[in-house]
Amino acid sequence: MRAILAFFRANWLTAASYRLDLIISLGSLAVAAIPLYFVAGALQPLMAESIETEGGQYFGFVLVGLVTYSYLGVAVNSIANGLARSIGSGTIEAFLVAPAPLRTILAGFASYELVWTTLRSVVFVGVGVFLGARFAPAGLPSALVILALTLLAYVPLGLMAAAMVMAFRTTGPFPKIVFAASALLGGVYYPTTVIPSWIESVSSVVPLTYGLRAIRRTLLDGWSLGAVGHDVLVLVVMGALLFALAIPVFLAALHYARRRGTLAHP
C-alpha cells in the first residue's frame, strides 16, 4: 500500500508543479455542469417516463451517468496510459527492477487518476446539487459499493489495453471501442430500455448497463443493495470472468516483451 501511496504522491507533486493547468482543470469542470443543467431541464418532459424507476429526474440521471462513465476512463485508460508514459519517459526499467509486485506498480499508475477523478466527481456532483439535482443520501453507501464493483469490472479491460501497450506499444482502437459501446449501450445518457430491442440485447453484455442502473436506483431512488442484487450479481460475475481472461493475456504480453527484449523500449 505504501508503494501505491508513494506513486500517488509522486504523480500529485508532478501535477501540482503545473499549477495553472490544475486550477483551470477544476474550474472548467464546475462550469461544465451548468449547460448540462439547462439541457437536462429541456429534455425532462421527454425522459420522465422512461427514467421513472431510476430517479425520475433527468438532470440527476445524466449527472450520475457521466460521473460513473468518467470512472471507466480510470479503469480502462489509466494503467495503459501510465505504462505508456513510463515506457516513453524511461522510468519503466527502474520500476520493474524494484522488488515491488507488478500489480502494485500498475495500481500505482492508476492511483492518482482514481483520486483525481473522485475529486472532479465531487466538484461536479456538488455543483449539480447546488443547481437542483436530487439524490437519496441513504443510498450513497450502496451506490459507492456498486461504483467500486463497476470500476473493478472494467479493470480487466484496462489490463488488456496495458497488455497491448506492453506487446505492441499501442492500445489500438480497443479503449475507444469500449468507451463507445459503454456510452451508447450502457445507459449513460438514456436508459437502455429506450434503445431498439435488437441493440438492447447487446447492451446486456455491457457491464455498465448493470452498474449504472443499480447506482441510479440506490442513489436517486433510495433502493437498498439487496433490491438491486440481480444487477450486482451480474456485475460481479462479469468482472470475475473478465479478470480470468485478462490476467493470462497480460502475463502473456509481459512474457512476450521480456522474451523479445522490448519491455523498456520506447
Binding site: 526499467e93 527492477v97 524494484a98 522488488p99 521480456r258 527484449g261
Partner: protein, 366 residues
C-alpha cells in the same frame, strides 16, 4: 549499507564463493524487418544472437569488469541479471537463486544503475525521487527518511535534495541514479559506465567510494561495464572481454594487458632511420620495427615500436647490438596498451593462454 528489510536467504546449491553463476547463457533478439520483408515472409522472423553460450563465475565480493566494443552483449547481460529480459537458454544463478524462477526474490539483492537520466522524475526533487523508489523497495516511515537522507549525503546531493531534478547537471543526475540503485543495499550492483557523466574529481571520488564502501566494507559484488581503462585497472579484480555475444577472455586486467604487450616495446632514439633497425629484423633479434606516427614532436626523440620475442635476455641483446652499431637509445620500455587496444587485440587475436595472476602493470617496469 543499511537495509529496510531482511535480505533473503540464498538457496542451497551455489558454492560459498561463487555468487554469480552464469552457465551457457544464450539470448537472441528478433531482427528489425522492413515492411517489404514482412510482406514477403510474414512468418519468417530472424533472431540475432546477443549472447552466445556465455559462462562466467563471479566470486562474492568481487569487482568484475565487463569490457567489449559496442554491441558486444554487455547491456543484454545486465538486463538478464536485472530480470528485464528472459534468457533463451542456459542458467543464471545469483546467490543460489535462479534468475527465472526466483525473479521477485532476486530483485531484492540485485540492483542495476539505470544510467538513463530520463528514468528520473524531472519535476520532483531529488528527495522525492528517492522517496518513491524507497517505497518500492519496501522502506516506510522514518526508515525511508533516514535511508534517503543517508544516500543523498553519500552521493553528495544533500544540499540539493529539495531542488527539482530537471535543474540538475548531468553529473548530479548520475549521482542520483547511483543513489537510487543503492537504496536496497544490494548484494550485486550492476554498473554500466557509471562515471561517464562525472567530472574527473567526482569520478575519482566515486571510484574510491565504490572500492571502499561498496565492495570492501559492504562486501557487495560489483559488475562494471566500462570503456574507461583507468577505471577497469583501478577497480576490477578480473575482467571479461565480450565480443558479439561471446566471452573472448577472462582474467585480471593486468594479465590481459601484459598478454597484448608482452612482445611489444617502445624504443626512443635519435636515429630512427638507421640501418641497424633493419639488421635487427634480418638477424632475427626483432620480429618487426615500425616508426610510430605522431611521436617525436616537441623536441622529444622519435619512437619506434619493436616486437622483440624472447623476453629480457633478447631485449638486452637488442640493446647491445644497437649500441655496437652506434645507435643512441634513450629508453626501451614495454608497450602499455590502452583498454581499447586490449579489447581490440583480444577480439582480433583471441584470448591469452591461461596464466597466473600478475602484479599490477605499474609495478612492473621494463
Amino acid at each position: 549499507m543499511m537495509g529496510g528489510h531482511a535480505r533473503p536467504t540464498p538457496l542451497p546449491g551455489a558454492g560459498p564463493a561463487t555468487f554469480v553463476d552464469i552457465h551457457n547463457l544464450t539470448k537472441s533478439y528478433p531482427e528489425q524487418r522492413t515492411w517489404r520483408e514482412i510482406l514477403r515472409h510474414p512468418f519468417r522472423e530472424q533472431w540475432i544472437p546477443a549472447l552466445r553460450q556465455v559462462s562466467l563465475d563471479i566470486v562474492r565480493g568481487e569487482f568484475f569488469g565487463l569490457l567489449g566494443p559496442n554491441g558486444a552483449g554487455k547491456t543484454t547481460l545486465f538486463k538478464v541479471l536485472s530480470t528485464l529480459v528472459t534468457p533463451d537458454s542456459g542458467s543464471v544463478r545469483v546467490g543460489g537463486m535462479d534468475i527465472v524462477r526466483d525473479g521477485a526474490r532476486l530483485r531484492r539483492i540485485v540492483s542495476p544503475v539505470i544510467a538513463d537520466e530520463r528514468s528520473l522524475l524531472w519535476r520532483l526533487s531529488a528527495r522525492e525521487n528517492l522517496n518513491l523508489y524507497a517505497a518500492l523497495h519496501g522502506y516506510g516511515g522514518s526508515a525511508r527518511t533516514r535511508r534517503v537522507a543517508q544516500l543523498l549525503d553519500l552521493v553528495g546531493l544533500d544540499e540539493a535534495r529539495e531542488k527539482m531534478v530537471g535543474q540538475f547537471s548531468s553529473g548530479m543526475k548520475q549521482r542520483l541514479l547511483i543513489a537510487r540503485a543503492l537504496l536496497p543495499g544490494p548484494q550485486l550492483l550492476l554498473l554500466d559506465e557509471p562515471t561517464r557523466s562525472l567530472d574527473p574529481v567526482t569520478a575519482e571520488r566515486f571510484r574510491l567510494f565504490l572500492r571502499q564502501d561498496i565492495a570492501d566494507t559492504e562486501g557487495c559484488t560489483v559488475l562494471l561495464a566500462t570503456h574507461n581503462a583507468e577505471e577497469a585497472l583501478e577497480l576490477c579484480t578480473r575482467v571479461a572481454v565480450l565480443d558479439r555475444g561471446r566471452v573472448r577472455a577472462v582474467g585480471t586486467p593486468n594479465a590481459l594487458a601484459l598478454h597484448v604487450a608482452q612482445e611489444r616495446f617502445h624504443l626512443h632514439t635519435s636515429t630512427p632511420g638507421a640501418q641497424a633497425f633493419e639488421d635487427l629484423v634480418e638477424r632475427g633479434l626483432a620480429r618487426s620495427v615500425r616508426r610510430l606516427s605522431g611521436a617525436g614532436v616537441d623536441g622529444a626523440w622519435p619512437v619506434l615500436e619493436i616486437e622483440i620475442p624472447g623476453g629480457d635476455r633478447r631485449c638486452a641483446e637488442v640493446l647491445t647490438f644497437l649500441n655496437q652499431q652506434g645507435v643512441v637509445v634513450a629508453r626501451l620500455e614495454r608497450f602499455r596498451p590502452s583498454l581499447a587496444q586490449v579489447i581490440e587485440h583480444v577480439v582480433t587475436h583471441g584470448p591469452p593462454p591461461t596464466a597466473a595472476p600478475l602484479p599490477p602493470l605499474r609495478e612492473r617496469d621494463p
